[in-house]
């Protein structure tokens, strides 16, 4: 039928399939469930414990986060009287929207990018760097001394990691000669990790700083400021706030895989012939393994002090990213790649 065929064609077009189904919104929610469970399970095994085991006993408690999310949905959403009402409600929704937007730019297979443009890399980085603004709004609207401290820390930290993140990404785009994420994969005859390891290292650490994982979980420092900007939120909005960091981590690790780990290579020809949208399976697997590694670091490190993290960001990683820029320029001239 005409209408049904139209809807199916619309659904399977890259502009709808990639941001919503894979590797976009739905996959992101599934990844969110599994990665939080994996973090708790890995940390528990290292710490001589069992971890979450109650919800689905036979599968090892995988659906624990689903149970938590369901519980959050039934909680009452309280807006404190002294809080600024409209920004209080709007800010987390804004944050969630900004956290989902990067998936509109990330391609999952050759020829299957939702927005085909020669400038997808700066666009996606710009969207990701707008998320701290909504966190600032959350902290200010709560009208609580602890959340303002958390918002101020978020402002400091975002200045600290944005510059090395951008410069490492730009140095790789200089090396490849293109700013489009799709073309970067085709230009990698050997993975970008080996071509420019300094940029890879700097981008990795800036990624950890941006997502707020240990040793840089300063914004939600529970021992000093009790969940920072998210402290006055209840119900599903609190769940969104906690999941926000993981969504940022997922988007950034997809970008990392595309730039440094040669994206979706090797492409499975069989799946690509059936439907190009599901051929990005290796992209997803590599990004997921990277996230598991970052989440494992929680069992090893404590938390850095704010001024120590800023010192590292500006004195060490900023300098290293400039060095990687020079390395890229040199490689470009020598190899003429």
């Amino acid at each position: 039928m005409d209408i049904v065929g139209f809807i199916v064609k619309l659904f399977l077009s890259p502009q709808v399939f990639a941001p919503i189904v894979f590797p976009g919104l739905l996959t992101a929610l599934v990844v969110l469930l599994i990665i939080i469970w994996a973090e708790r399970k890995i940390a528990a095994r290292i710490q001589m414990r069992v971890g979450p085991l109650y919800v689905t006993r036979h599968l090892g408690g995988v659906l624990q986060m689903l149970a938590d999310g369901t519980r959050y949905m039934f909680q009452e959403f309280i807006v404190p009287e002294t809080a600024d009402r409209i920004p209080f409600i709007v800010a987390p929704i804004l944050a969630l929207t900004l956290a989902i937007l990067p998936f509109a730019f990330i391609p999952s297979a050759p020829g299957f990018s939702p927005i085909s443009s020669p400038l997808t890399l700066p666009a996606v980085l710009a969207v990701i760097s707008a998320i701290p603004i909504s966190v600032l709004l959350m902290g200010w609207a709560s009208n609580n001394k602890f959340s303002i401290q958390g918002a101020v820390r978020e402002a400091f930290m975002s200045l600290g990691y944005e510059v090395p993140l951008f410069i490492s990404a730009i140095s790789m785009s200089i090396l490849y000669g293109t700013m489009s994420l799709e073309e970067m994969v085709t230009k990698q005859f050997i993975p970008g990790l080996i071509l420019n390891p300094i940029a890879a290292f700097t981008f990795l650490v800036s990624m950890i700083m941006s997502a707020g994982k240990l040793p840089f979980d300063i914004v939600e420092g529970e021992q000093e400021i009790v969940a920072g900007p998210y402290v006055e939120y209840t119900g599903i909005i609190f769940g969104i706030g906690m999941g926000l960091a993981y969504l940022k981590l997922y988007a950034l690790s997809l970008i990392y895989t595309i730039i440094f780990l040669s994206g979706w290579e090797p492409l499975p020809k069989l799946l690509y012939d059936i439907y190009p949208g599901i051929a990005g399976i290796f992209l997803f697997v590599k990004a997921f393994l990277l996230m598991l590694f970052i989440v494992f670091l929680r069992s090893v490190y404590g938390r850095y002090r704010l001024d120590q993290a800023l010192k590292i960001g500006w004195r060490v990683y900023f300098v290293l990213s400039i060095v990687s820029l020079i390395l890229s320029l040199g490689l470009r001239v020598i190899l003429n790649v």
């Binding site: 001589m48 529970e222 000093e224 404590g302 938390r303 002090r305 001024d307």
Partner: protein, 404 residues
Amino acid sequence: MLSMSSEFVSSRLLFKEGDESTYELFIGPQHPASGHMRFIVRLKGDIIVSVDPDIGYVHRTMEKLAEGREAIKAIPLLERLTIIDSHNVTVALVTALERLLDAEPPPRALYLRTLLSEINRIASHLYGMGIAGIMLNHSTMFMWAFGDREVWIQLAEELTGARLTHTYSIPGGVRRDLPQGFKEKFEKAARYMEKRLQDYMKIFLLNPQIASRYEGVGILKKSEARRLSIVGPNLRASGVKYDARLADDYGAYKELEFEVPVREEGDCMARMLVRVEEIKQSLSIIRQVLEKMPSGPIFAEKYLKLLPPKTREQVLKTGHVKLPGIFASLKLPAGEAVARAEMGHGEIFYHIVSDGSTKPYRLRVVTPSFRNVVLFRYLPPGHRFMDFPAIYGSLDYFPPEADR
């Protein structure tokens, strides 16, 4: 902003005029990392200007309660001061009562008291290290330390029958004898602990990230430590070699060889390293105790002969002491007695005044955490706000003990 009604006396320092650039935070009892107390922290930017510790949230009025109960009942009452370290709290009380009653415990009882004291000291230091770990959000150290405490609590259960509330010492001796097979179990536990201490060093104290949080933070100078009457590992990390086991005469410490670890730097890292060293020393003390344990009775002859003959035989055969009936209304001779002991947190001090009745007239106890409270006023000012949990964790402060 701060109008106080004039009926009740305020319990916190009032804001002065001109303090507007100071940012006041109440790290109150409803806070995941404040313990059972409140801190009123004043910040200028990120630098702490002053900290006012507001204690008294778990005040259980133990000194007043002890005045209304017979002397023997004070032992389980005061044991609940620091339940993680309970034998060290009661051994000082029992020594003071023995000095007042003029009763001498037999040598085997002294060795058994030393054994349980050292087991409790290891458990208390592990608790302190776990709390220090979670204050820096290092959850692995927290979980490992609390998991390894289980080993020592089970050893104490072998010896006394209870995991935490031992009530082991009584005036005249101890309540239970050493069970069979204790030495092998202890050797297994000691080997496990030595391996784990190396793990702790690798993941926590030698971790460069933790070292950057701890080194040079919260330095306590030697002269200040002496004047402010600081006790415990906090004092020994500032270069003062003082231990109540050397100062007062209780237990079997005069016949054992052990070292008191001392470090000179006085910062948070030194305090944690002193605790690790003390655990190793406690392991060596327990080994010596198990080797040199003399045989004999565990309860003083003076009280044993007050039991009926059948019960006396049963006591000597099984090693479980039954208290003679006179203990329920033991008359304390008029006078005073003073005793000190070394807990995991520091030195505890008892002073008993008696007027000849069965209940003590005044029981005064000064706990190590009460003496360490002044450090919250003197150490943090000048540091950054995120150093405050690091300093708190390294001091091993225990609120229920400070408030009594």
